[in-house]
């Protein structure tokens, strides 16, 4: 049994790797697009971290400790960067390949299965997401925003955010029928960015709004990365990780089911 499982895992890796290869070859002429995404997050950091941060000064956290506002906001913008890169790749780009360019229709006739396609797109999105994250962390370090070595753990923590939004993005790509559907996705993403605990602690929101924030995937990502960056670890981090992983697995599973339904007519 384990031999079969090993064989299946190897085939899955090889198959999703073949799709990764396809995306790499297709995108290597358009690398400037990938770079532009990283620049966007850096602009946010400068505008909010340094611009607003200079006005706010230090912030007192619910546990009584104080941090500079820039150090408070930077991890949240990092979490946002992890989300944006992956979400753009899995939702818009997969939608385009799926419904518009019909790339998967050709792949369908090969040994690749919808699950291999979904997995390959997730690998690819993670790679793209991590070019953003890597660039961002380097800049954070250059500006002295990485207070402790713990902060380097923020990068692997972003894996959970990236995985969760890869799952969500893939599912959205299979659900959306039209480019206009992306408008409301962007609206939700922007709302999460503004109210998911990026700029102020959630505890400062009115009571009725707090449960809404707790549902937001980005909130859990921000809390996770911020906690690690500021060296404040706690059991709640396991909840954040579990929530993000559940979204990742659920999203990928739904996406490959929907791809199979749509393609295997």
């Amino acid at each position: 049994m384990s031999v079969i499982a090993y064989g299946a895992a190897r085939a899955g890796l090889r198959n999703s790797g073949a799709l990764l290869n396809r995306n790499w070859i297709a995108m290597r002429r358009a690398w400037i697009l990938i770079l532009s995404g990283a620049v966007e997050s850096l602009l946010f950091l400068f505008a909010f971290g340094f611009g607003v941060g200079a006005l706010v000064g230090d912030l007192t956290l619910p546990d009584g400790s104080t941090v500079s506002y820039t150090a408070y906001v930077a991890p949240a913008i990092l979490a946002n960067a992890a989300m944006m890169g992956v979400l753009a790749e899995t939702s818009v780009n997969v939608f385009a390949k799926f419904k518009w360019m019909k790339v998967y229709d050709g792949i369908l006739n090969t040994p690749l299965r919808p699950a291999d396609v979904a997995l390959g797109e997730v690998w690819w999105a993670l790679i793209r997401g991590f070019t953003y994250i890597g660039a961002f962390v380097v800049v954070m370090g250059l500006f002295g925003l990485l207070d402790s070595w713990w902060a380097l753990l923020a990068v692997p923590a972003c894996v959970f955010i990236a995985l969760a939004f890869a799952g969500i993005g893939l599912t959205l790509a299979t659900l959306f029928r039209d480019w206009t559907d992306f408008d409301w996705m962007n609206a939700v993403v922007f709302a999460m960015f503004l109210f998911g605990g990026t700029f102020t602690p959630v505890e400062s929101y009115p009571g009725f709004a707090q449960p809404i924030v707790y549902v937001m995937p980005l909130y859990h990502g921000i809390e996770l990365v911020r906690g690690i960056s500021l060296g404040q670890l706690g059991p709640m981090m396991l909840v954040h990780i579990a929530y993000l992983l559940a979204l990742a697995v659920g999203g990928m599973w739904i996406a490959q089911r929907r791809l199979a339904r749509a393609l295997y007519k």
């Binding site: 073949a18 070859i25 050709g106 090969t110 295997y264």
Partner: protein, 317 residues
């Protein structure tokens, strides 16, 4: 060793239903290794649906289907690894160049990069596209795109190549180039399965074929057998100036006996006969004077017309 009588694909009472519409209504066929097998039928006859089921990208809703002796439902990926597929709409990857299309596709079959590149170069040469290797797919003509799709289908040295309407939408010159390549494949011993609504294509390329109509197989055999069984040796086409459907139908009644069967069409009357000279003499004797008389050998088009009462390609002019 390849066994000439080995059955590659077999179907029994194969069915496919989309909601209330049954696209394939119980078909039986067996495709042997090394042969060129055709599905001839008008648009919407269920040919493409059958091809998709054989290609393991569409699940039958009834009957049984075996490809390479395996079950498409549970062993789809293994079967697809041994098939080459040229879909009706090519499904080439527009974001890649001509050469990249082949190399990337090879990787889907687990072929290593070095081997993939060598194979891609060889296949581009086979379909005469070597000079376009670095071009974007969208810059190719329809015929070139089809040839690239054929090259792509061969990347894994398939045991069976499935072509869904390989020359539909191509100009005559491009069609002949495609046919010529398919002949080459046939000579190499590659098993070919194709659908078409062109009877000349079926006649030229297929060793055996089935005629499909409204989801059913209504006849099967070699092109020669089908013609011998269902129509006479020759056909005389009669035109009567500007006379049309109703007038021709009325005229047809008066022609009883000049041939084995009389078939009025919108623009002409077909007389099926074993001897065109006898028919012409009979027309003379009855004092019937068409504005034009054309005697020709019977074709698969006539078979289709006799079996369904309809033309294969709806008035293309």
């Amino acid at each position: 060793m390849p066994d000439d009588n080995e059955i590659l694909v077999s179907a029994a009472d194969l069915r496919k239903k989309y909601g209330e519409h049954e696209a394939v209504r119980g078909v039986d066929f067996a495709i042997r290794r090394g042969e060129a097998f055709g599905f001839l039928g008008a648009n919407g006859a269920g040919k493409s649906t059958t091809m998709r089921m054989i290609g393991c990208v569409s699940q039958p809703t009834g009957g049984t289907l075996e490809v390479f002796g395996r079950d498409p439902h549970t062993q789809g990926a293994e079967i697809r690894a041994r098939l080459g597929v040229v879909p009706q709409d090519n499904t080439l990857d527009d974001m890649l160049t001509v050469f990249e299309n082949l190399v990337v596709y090879a990787r889907y079959f687990g072929i290593r990069k070095k081997e993939a590149r060598a194979k891609a170069a060889e296949l581009l040469d086979f379909v005469q596209l070597t000079s376009r290797a670095k071009d974007q797919v969208s810059d190719l003509s329809g015929g070139m795109q089809r040839r690239l799709a054929i090259a792509r289908s061969l990347i894994n040295d398939p045991e069976l190549v499935i072509l869904d309407e390989p020359t539909t939408g191509l100009d005559p010159q491009a069609r002949h180039l495609v046919w010529e390549r398919l002949f080459q494949l046939k000579h190499r011993g590659v098993s070919i399965l194709l659908t078409t609504h062109y009877m000349d294509e079926a006649e030229q390329l297929c060793d055996r074929l089935v005629v499909m109509d409204e989801g059913r197989i209504i006849a099967s055999g070699s092109p020669r057998e089908l013609i011998d069984t269902h129509v006479t040796k020759e056909v005389v086409e009669l035109r009567f100036g500007t006379a049309h459907t109703a007038e021709l139908a009325a005229l047809a009644h008066t022609l009883d006996g000049v041939g084995a069967q009389i078939e009025p069409l919108p623009d002409k009357i077909l007389v099926y006969t074993d001897d065109a000279d006898d028919t012409n003499a009979a027309l003379e004797a009855r004092d019937v004077h068409p504005t034009s008389v054309l005697a020709r050998r019977a074709t698969l088009e006539d078979v289709f017309l006799r079996l369904t009462g309809r033309a294969l390609v709806e008035a293309e002019s």
